[in-house]
Symmetry: C2
């Protein structure tokens, strides 16, 4: 079992890594959205409102970290990372629409449809999802397109979103909760790591190692999300807490309590770190990021 | 100038070609939607409600016709054709949502959100768009992914949809109308033909010929759509007519009148057919389909 390293230094290392790599992704995303026709400027503005709303950039940074570990091409890595962040952002925009969660705030700002209206929010989401696949196609690697489409689609994120909708207000068993989390959140996190490896032509063995890291990280991430929804600071998180309890959602804390949920998250982080042990110091960013997932306050 | 061939025989040939090739696409689409987890069956059902609602299948059949002309692999052609039809269907589902057109009927049936609710309609659209890219990725040709994403995205269909929204209730100049039509409808029609050629490794010269065919066909298609919105039979079309006039939309008939619009459409069909003259009898399906676009009553 790994010793838990000093929390403060972990957070500093992780935040500095996230900050630096985020900059690369943000520059790239800005570039991909430049030079659009005058007549769609308002749509681009709406897209940027959500895309640059202060997200953690965890997923795209995981793409870059994985590509770095396996020696991938930086341009391809930036395209792939941007695509993943665009898909994550589109899913938030559509989730916030009146049809689904009807949320007014996200990351401390009014949601996109509250500012630009539902029509533009719907189209901004559709546009982001489509642009993401343009970028993935531009990597020249069709395997990456298939991988991301699977994890974002009806057998992945969209399917998880649908199951979550169906489960609202119901008590669901732990197995079902795990399945929903895996599809809704875990799939895209695992995929972020896998595509970073795929564009780097990583070997089967490396792909398996990074997949195990991603799966455990994804589960821990979701457990911590559930915990923060109970005990988190609304100001730091930029959105209301206590919403799961209000909707009577089944969550880790509702099934196991806060303490046991924290232990579970920690166990999964240890397993994630265990999966990449063989890579030594080169995998340090992966270690910081893993611990950061449970130390984070938003 | 081409002589207009016998209308009745053209319609019969085109409809028989559309019927046969549609069957291939429908079988393929059913296959791609099979074996989904029990827990997303209702989502699959909703997707099928729209995907098998009696569309003309013009776009996917154009993919197959183009791939046939240039000797492409039939499995890749079916995947690509299905992807195009899924993208067309997703765009209709999202267009019908309350955020955009708020339409209650489509092809003579209640719209998806009227039957399954807005949440499922939104997710069904997202799922179809994502599945389309999974299929395009599976063709192994990243160029096809990029081509389709561009024509469906913010610089294509989504952008056109946005401009159309902005233009509602305004008198817009002819140039603007052409731009909106090109992006909203023309782009995906031209792309259907281009990707059929791309998966067949067609030469640059052939790709240019089929692109000219597609561009002219797309313009004629949109002009006829505008005409049918004025003079069409609601029963045959399965949706209300006169809606453009009610919304004070700028259309070909509103700018040029019905007669002149018909002439324009015919001129573009003749140019489309001219573009593929060199391929002789092999291109007969392309000729039928082109005339069918202006002879159709829905």
């Amino acid at each position: 079992m790994e010793k838990i390293p000093d929390k403060q230094s972990i957070i500093e290392n992780a935040e500095s890594y996230l900050r630096e790599r985020s900059k690369l992704v943000e520059q790239a995303m800005n570039e991909y959205l430049a030079d659009a026709d005058e007549s769609i400027q308002l749509l681009i503005e709406a897209i940027k409102y959500s895309l640059f709303a202060g997200g953690k950039r965890l997923r795209p940074v995981l793409v870059l970290a994985s590509a770095e570990l396996f020696g991938g091409d930086i341009e391809k890595a930036k395209m792939t990372a941007s695509a993943i962040e665009m898909i994550h952002t589109y899913s938030l925009i559509h989730d916030d629409l009146p049809e689904l969660d009807n949320d007014d705030y996200r990351r401390g700002k009014p949601t996109l449809h509250k500012v630009y209206g539902g029509a533009i929010a719907l189209l901004a989401g559709d546009g982001l999802l489509t642009l993401a696949f343009e970028l993935l196609g531009r990597t020249g690697n069709p395997e990456v397109v298939v991988e991301v489409a699977k994890s974002a689609g009806i057998r992945g994120m969209v399917g998880g979103q649908f199951m979550d909708l169906e489960a609202e207000g119901k008590q669901i068993p732990y197995e079902k909760l795990k399945q929903i989390h895996k599809l809704k959140t875990g799939a895209l996190i695992t995929t972020s790591l896998r595509v970073g490896a795929l564009i780097s032509n990583a070997k089967e063995h490396d792909l398996n190692a990074i997949t195990r890291y991603g799966e455990n990280l994804g589960i821990a991430f979701q457990i911590v999300d559930d915990i923060l929804n109970v005990v988190g600071d609304e100001k730091k998180m930029g959105k209301p807490t206590g919403t799961d309890a209000k909707l009577k959602k089944s969550t880790y804390p509702s099934l196991f309590g806060i303490e046991k949920s924290r232990e579970l998250a920690k166990m999964h982080i240890e397993q994630a770190i265990e999966s990449i042990q063989e890579y030594g110091d080169k995998a340090d960013p992966m270690r910081y990021l893993a611990w950061y997932v449970i130390f984070r306050e938003k």
